[in-house]
Amino acid sequence: MTMRAPAAVFALAAVLASAGGADALPSLGPNVSVRQLGTGTTAIVQTLSGPPVAAIELWYRAPSTGFDAKPVPSLARLSAQVVAASKPLIGPSLGEIVRNSGGRLAISVYSDSIEIAAVVPATAARSVVKTITTAYFAPVLTDAGFKIAQRDVAEEALFESFNPETATRDAVFSALFAGGPQHFPALGPARELAAITFANVRAYATRAFRAQNAVLVVSGPITPSILSVAANGRSAESAMANAEQHSASEIVNAPQPVQRVFDEPSGGYGWIGPPIASEREATALDFIADYLFNNESGYVTRALVESNPDAFVVGQFITLHDPGVMFVAFSGKKIDAVRAKVDDGLALMRKPLGGAAFASALLAFQYHLLHDLQTPVEMADNFGWYAVEGNPEYAPGVNAASGKYFQAVRSLTPEFVASIAEKYLGKQAAIVTLQPAPKKPSEPK
């Protein structure tokens, strides 16, 4: 662990515990400090030069559908929003603090994790670290906050219901996993959202939003001394003294095709991929997704720009604890033509690319990675995601070009990439078809 500000580190002695020992914490690069706070929170602080903007993020490992046996889609999303909207007894809510600074606050929920992310002027960073940890280490929930959050999450769910990428991803995950939070959408239908009670939210927030279960990431022109203002949170009861474990995955061996009604013709594919621990294989699938579907230069993207300019396509390998998922979604008026272009691209990857094409693609891939790691919030997202999925040292933002991720990139060969495409994408995919409901005879064509 490199100390960039030794004096500040001594000053932090009162709030930083040595529990776990420095050797238990990952090393994430010369400008990144990793600590364990007294209450058990893992804190990652990255000091950057550049614009006077800081990202402050809290990440939690917690199922989107709740901890009980009966899954409740939207529970995690609603609970996180209630905390942000609830005004504490003293002072403004987290949402107000961020808004009044001119910054932005976002909450994202994935199958097995939750992210609360603020982007603020660097001068507001200390205040936001204090407020976000106070709010989410010992949640205070109010009726007013609950009502505001219900309205906001219902509107978000409505918007997302028209998003072909979301609709396809939900269907793909539903087909690939027989149960667990992965089987259900993170944002459920309005009827299910309305059925979630204040008591449900309180119970969920109490268990999920604990200092012991949190990863705090701060990135920007700040120093590790910023951690001195982090709240301690609740003292750990025996049942909640540790971080939550990853949800067990219930994989479907032979996923069945899914057909659903949607506003515009759309489709998608999904395959079970390697876990985050299989670094080289996971990196190869990232490379494949970038080569085919990068939004500017992807092989499929370029083909569609000319032939089907109205088409939309997205493809990514979602790096998860175990297993990861390769996911492709597409839409367009001529959906069969779009699907054919996607299929062409996928078939191409199962044979080794030529040497020159591969070298060029690898160069482009590395640039795209760096392009996606240029702002404090992108760096914080990167550290937070890989930490909560259980392999922070594999984060692409770690240690610049000498980190584990970029080492894995440089180890790729055309033959290895083709073998990984065959190994994972050669299996039966979850195939999703979304199409508008057939018109009734009385409706105008």
């Binding site: 550049g50 909207a85 976002a106 909450i107 918007f159 230069s297 702002t375």
Partner: protein
């Protein structure tokens, strides 16, 4: 809904101090509490100058190259030619590939944007790769391909993007306002229209290129890790351009009449969208900081409370200070999918009048200055955004260290400045209504 906006108006009325209120206190910020971008430096590149903010730990460089080939250089008959030229340049073959693909295949990206005052190209790559990519760009710039085939494919690509823009009601409303506010080319759509593009041929593109792409009409800004090699490549790029300077274009905007003209268009939208457009000071003006504070005030005061930040499609009301054109403008949009636009417009105009007649209270001034500063810095974080803002503000009178000059201009704003600027700019406006095709009324 109506009641909530009435409450907003009351709250804003409370924010406006009574006449004779004490001036806002000067900020008591210590150096550690002061927002500052890395100090920009200027490098002479022969006939061009480069403003650069260098970040020691960045691994990428981003370069924005501004050609004086914006909308204000087009005639009405040339509608879309600036975009057509840029698209043809991006499609010009170098080393066997279209320039855009050649750059992508070497680990970089090329984009262009047509602004009111410039066509700007943005190149980004690892800093060590950027000089080679700039050399590729220079080759395409020196011999752009305006052949019939390239022009046809460029036209088709632009037409697709035009159709996308036409499907966005807020964009349509902003364009209607700009068309009404600016004279001649400055009010034309950035990419032209499908009809205007169809009328432009290779000779039109070549003529526009010959007239506007001159060494003396280029500005450069760079951010990220900016190396001497990048500066050298930019110097070579400038040297390869045709010699010559461009006469400045005089600002052309119509005076906004007192009777608040209304323009109506119909599109396939679910609900009405209203765009209210005001004149606004240019960035070099002493009123710039105060207008940024007003933008923040108008953008935030009418929106409903939400714990998380709302995206554009979720917002009911938003404001945007458009300083890419000269003179500049401020637009406020109201999304009829979210609120009753007639109520919001009424409140907006009441508030605009009040802002011109009463000063803000000290607390409100401090709050809106803080949000204005915050919005400015958080809106200029990516290399692309930061290089654009640095270059465009620097070219409009804010000097080489334009980002920090902007923050200083906000910091120096007093309540009297806000009132004066509101009185000067927010009392006359143009209303652009984008209505569903099936709605009754309108023209």
């Amino acid at each position: 809904m109506n009641q909530s906006f009435a409450r907003v108006a009351l709250a804003l009325a409370a924010a406006l101090a009574m006449t004779g209120a004490a001036p806002a206190p000067k900020p008591a910020a210590s150096p550690a509490e002061t927002l500052r971008f890395p100090r920009a430096v200027v490098t002479d590149l022969g006939p061009m100058k480069m403003q650069a903010e260098s970040d020691a730990d960045a691994r990428l460089g981003g370069v924005q190259i501004f050609f004086s080939a914006g909308l204000d250089r087009q005639t009405v008959a040339q509608n879309g030619v600036a975009a057509l030229v840029a698209e043809c340049i991006a499609r010009t073959t170098v080393d066997g590939s279209a320039l855009r693909d050649a750059i992508a295949d070497r680990g970089g990206a090329l984009q262009y944007t047509i602004d009111g005052r410039a066509t700007r190209y943005y190149l980004e790559a690892r800093s060590e790769d950027l000089p080679v990519l700039l050399a590729l760009f220079a080759r395409a710039l020196a011999a752009p391909d305006f052949s019939t085939a390239t022009l046809a494919s460029a036209r088709a690509a632009l037409s697709n993007r035009v159709n996308d823009i036409e499907g966005n009601a807020i964009s349509v409303g902003v364009q209607m306002f700009r068309r009404s506010y600016y004279e001649a080319g400055a009010g034309l759509p950035a990419l032209g229209t499908t009809t205007s593009l169809a009328a432009l041929g290779p000779s039109d593109a070549a003529a526009f290129y010959r007239a506007q792409y001159r060494r003396g009409g280029v500005g450069v800004s760079a951010v990220g890790r900016v190396t001497p090699e990048i500066a050298s490549a930019l110097r070579a790029l400038g040297d390869a351009l045709p010699e010559g300077t461009l006469a400045p274009v005089s600002a052309k905007a119509r005076a906004i009449p007192e009777n608040a003209p209304r323009i109506v268009a119909r599109r396939d939208v679910g609900a009405p969208v209203i765009v209210v457009g005001f004149a606004a000071p240019s960035p070099g003006s002493k009123d710039f900081g105060a207008m940024l504070v007003l933008e923040s005030l108008l953008s935030n005061s009418f929106e409903r409370t939400s714990a998380t930040t709302l995206g554009i499609v979720e917002r009911s009301v938003g404001a945007s200070y458009l300083y890419d054109g000269s003179p500049a403008s401020l637009i406020v949009y109201v999304n009829g999918n979210r609120v009753d636009p007639t109520v919001v417009i009424r409140e907006l105009l009441v508030v605009s009048k009040s802002l011109g007649s009463q000063p803000l209270s000290a607390d409100s001034l401090r709050r809106f200055k803080t949000t204005a500063e915050g919005a400015f810095v958080t809106g200029a974080v990516t290399l692309s955004d930061r290089s654009y803002v640095l270059g465009t503000l620097g070219a409009q009178g804010l000097g080489p260290d334009a980002m920090n000059a902007t923050l200083a201009s906000i910091e120096h704003v007093g309540a009297a400045d806000v009132r004066r600027v509101a009185k000067k700019y927010l009392q006359r406006y143009i209303v652009a209504l984008v209505l569903p095709r099936s709605a009754a009324g309108g023209s």
